[in-house]
């Protein structure tokens, strides 16, 4: 790797770190914009928790000092304070608890989306303008324009309520089937379309014709030449896909009652559990920023033609 590449990657990492810092700052000041502060006016908070909060955040101190204390706590100890609604629980423990389930959900969904998306996209491009191609394109267009919560609700209705072949509750591993399918449908459809168009582009290139005239077999061309080059745009979608899965899991976990981080986030919004809202926003944002960073670096590494700025 040349020094230019290293410089680019370092710059990208710095920007990612800055973004996380800005997210933390926005979260902090947003919470302080609430009239009476985030912790006041909550009847459900016991005096003991209240005292602990005031001592912890030093609410009588100047705003900037509160901010630095808060920042230090997060960056050094992952300390997001106690939850307001779930007595005796620390925010970080609630998040870590949910994150295990959510990451499993997300990773499986992403893998399914990639696998099926690449396969279907290749099939569509190789069988261009046939019935199969048209069918794949129509179905994927429909999936792309359907919001995740609509998709999830409808799947719940059909498979869990009407047909009753899978459990509606997502806390068991059989119950994870539906949430995984729901989450993977949109990225799968998107990847299919992406693969199709970039495959069509690649198949028209000169080196494909050369390979064919050399007598390389059809599967050989696809494996050795076409797919390798067609996959590059798909890699750029890597970051956005994981961002979609993270935000999509918020509603999907609510619909199927999956005990993940998304459900606790949605509950914290409706229950105005501010420390939990702050903590989840920061953790999920960091996750998304990291994924985008990873996708960017990977994209630049796989294609030597892409120049580093």
């Amino acid at each position: 790797m040349s020094s230019k590449n290293v410089f680019y990657i370092l710059k990208r990492i710095l920007l990612a770190f800055l973004t996380v810092l800005i997210v933390i700052t926005i979260t902090f000041f947003a919470m302080h914009a609430i009239p009476g502060g985030p912790f006041l006016g909550e009847k459900a908070v016991s005096p003991a928790v209240m005292e602990a909060l005031e001592a912890k955040y030093g609410l009588d101190k100047p705003l900037f000092e509160q901010y630095t204390t808060y920042l230090k706590g997060i960056l050094l100890d992952f300390d997001f304070g106690p939850s307001l609604k779930q007595r005796g629980m620390m925010v970080i423990d609630i998040i870590m608890d949910g994150l295990k389930t959510s990451i499993r959900l997300g990773v499986i969904a992403a893998a399914i989306a990639l696998l099926f998306g690449l396969t279907l996209g290749s099939i569509a491009s190789l069988r261009r303008n046939t019935l199969i191609d048209r069918f794949i394109m129509v179905v994927t267009t429909a999936f792309v324009s359907m919001p995740s919560f609509i998709m999830g609700s409808l799947l719940l209705l059909v498979f869990a309520v009407q047909l009753a072949i899978v459990p509606a509750n997502g806390s068991t591993s059989a119950g994870m089937i539906m949430p995984i399918i729901t989450l993977s449908l949109y990225p799968m459809a998107y990847i299919t379309r992406l693969t199709r168009s970039s495959m069509l582009d690649v198949l028209g290139q000169d080196y494909i014709r050369t390979a064919r005239s050399k007598g390389v077999s059809y599967p050989g061309i696809i494996r050795g030449h076409a797919l390798k080059n067609a996959i590059i745009p798909v890699i750029t979608y890597f970051g956005p896909m994981l961002a979609y899965i993270v935000t999509g899991s918020l509603v999907v976990e609510r619909i199927f009652a999956v005990p993940g981080i998304g459900r606790s986030f949605v509950n914290s919004i409706t229950g105005r559990d501010y420390p939990l809202i702050m903590g989840t926003t920061i953790i999920l944002s960091t996750l998304i920023v990291l994924m985008n960073l990873l996708g960017d670096i990977m994209y630049k590494l796989v294609d030597p033609r892409i120049s580093f700025e």
């Binding site: 997210v23 009239p35 324009s145 919560f149 609509i150 609700s153 409808l154 993270v246 935000t247």
Partner: protein, 352 residues
């Protein structure tokens, strides 16, 4: 006849009236076409886009006009009559069923307007709630896109035209907002603005719109202008190098005039297309937030909140979920297809 160019020798033939055959050459074979007429013609040929346009027009018109003459309103609880006990027979009616008092009137021979989609758990006519929810979703999508367009246009053209330090600062801000995870920020800001604005709006003219919708607009204005600003800036940067801009500058035209007269009209088609594609994504976000309980205030419906409410009764009243789901998918799908059609028809770079 040979003419000596240095003599004042007039060629008489040049003054003979043109024959009918010669005149024919001067007749315009067909009217000259403008850019927009060209695009409209291409758009009309695109069957998918035209069909989507018709669907959108039908949905929009019915969401505007149906509530005007519909006998029920979206917030009217049919079982609740002033001075009487609440009549629970109006709650959770199936499609085309009637409450007890209505049934009595029908038996007497009166005609009662049917509840096409039945009623919800609070005894409100579900059809009009869906229509009203569609209206809210469309309005939020439309106005949010307009806000995004305005801010993006001003910031992008200023940054692109003046360049230098202004451009550098603006583009760094754009980069940072662009790298923020937008959905999470939207959720965070919407949930806080709801609380913060609620107190401030009391008694003001904006109160009737509701703190939730206003906070939605603010969130859109804060976060989604960046891609529009980037687009406009890119357009302006490439157009700035054109000769006609140089000539305008040479004749002493001022910056704002050049932006208004030369740069914006030339980049307008790209801007319109990306605004058209912004509307479905705004509707998407609004319904997503409403589904999470951050959208419009009760009793006002939106398609997202209707679907969210329907989840609780999914076992017995599945159609209440299916109806808003179909409407929202139809709106987003046809807006997307229309946007694609517009892009194919109006983007000069794609002209074949």
């Amino acid at each position: 006849m040979k003419i000596n160019p240095f003599k004042m020798h007039i060629d008489v033939d040049a003054f003979i009236p043109a024959t009918a055959e010669e005149k024919k050459y001067m007749v315009q074979m067909r009217e000259s076409s403008t850019f927009f007429r060209d695009g409209a013609r291409r758009l009309k040929k695109n069957k998918v886009a035209m069909f989507s346009l018709i669907v959108i027009i039908i949905i929009t018109l019915s969401s505007i006009f149906l509530p005007m003459f519909w006998p029920y309103s979206y917030e009217q609880q049919l079982g609740v009559q002033p001075g009487k006990r609440v009549d629970p027979s109006f709650n959770n009616l199936a499609p085309f069923e009637y409450g007890t008092t209505e049934q009595a009137r029908i038996d007497k021979g009166e005609s009662v307007f049917p509840h096409i989609f039945g009623t919800d758990s609070a005894g409100r006519d579900y059809f009009i709630r869906v229509v009203y929810g569609t209206r809210i979703s469309l309005a939020v999508g439309f106005f949010a896109s307009i806000i995004v367009l305005m801010i993006g246009l001003v910031v992008g053209s200023v940054a692109g035209y003046f360049g230098g330090k202004i451009d550098l600062i603006v583009m760094r801000i754009v980069d940072i907002i662009y790298s923020l995870p937008d959905t999470l920020m939207v959720i965070l800001l919407a949930s806080i603005l709801n609380v913060t604005l609620g107190h401030k709006l009391e008694g003001s003219a904006l109160e009737s719109i509701g703190a939730n919708i206003i906070s939605l607009f603010i969130v859109f204005a804060l976060l989604y202008w960046v891609s529009m600003a980037r687009l406009v800036r890119g357009q302006i940067l490439s157009l700035k190098e054109e000769e006609y801009v140089l000539s305008a500058k040479a004749t002493g035209a001022k910056g704002p005039w050049i932006i208004r007269k030369h740069l914006l009209p030339n980049s307008i088609s790209v801007i319109i297309i990306s605004t058209a594609l912004q509307i479905p994504s705004a509707i998407f976000t609004e319904s997503y937030l409403s589904f999470l309980g951050l959208g419009v205030n009760e009793p006002m419906p939106s398609l997202g909140s209707l679907a969210s409410d329907a989840l609780n009764g999914i076992n017995s009243y599945a159609y209440r979920l299916v109806i808003p789901a179909i409407v929202i998918s139809l709106i987003v799908l046809s807006l997307n297809l229309l946007g694609d059609g517009l892009r194919d028809a109006f983007d000069p770079k794609l002209n074949r």
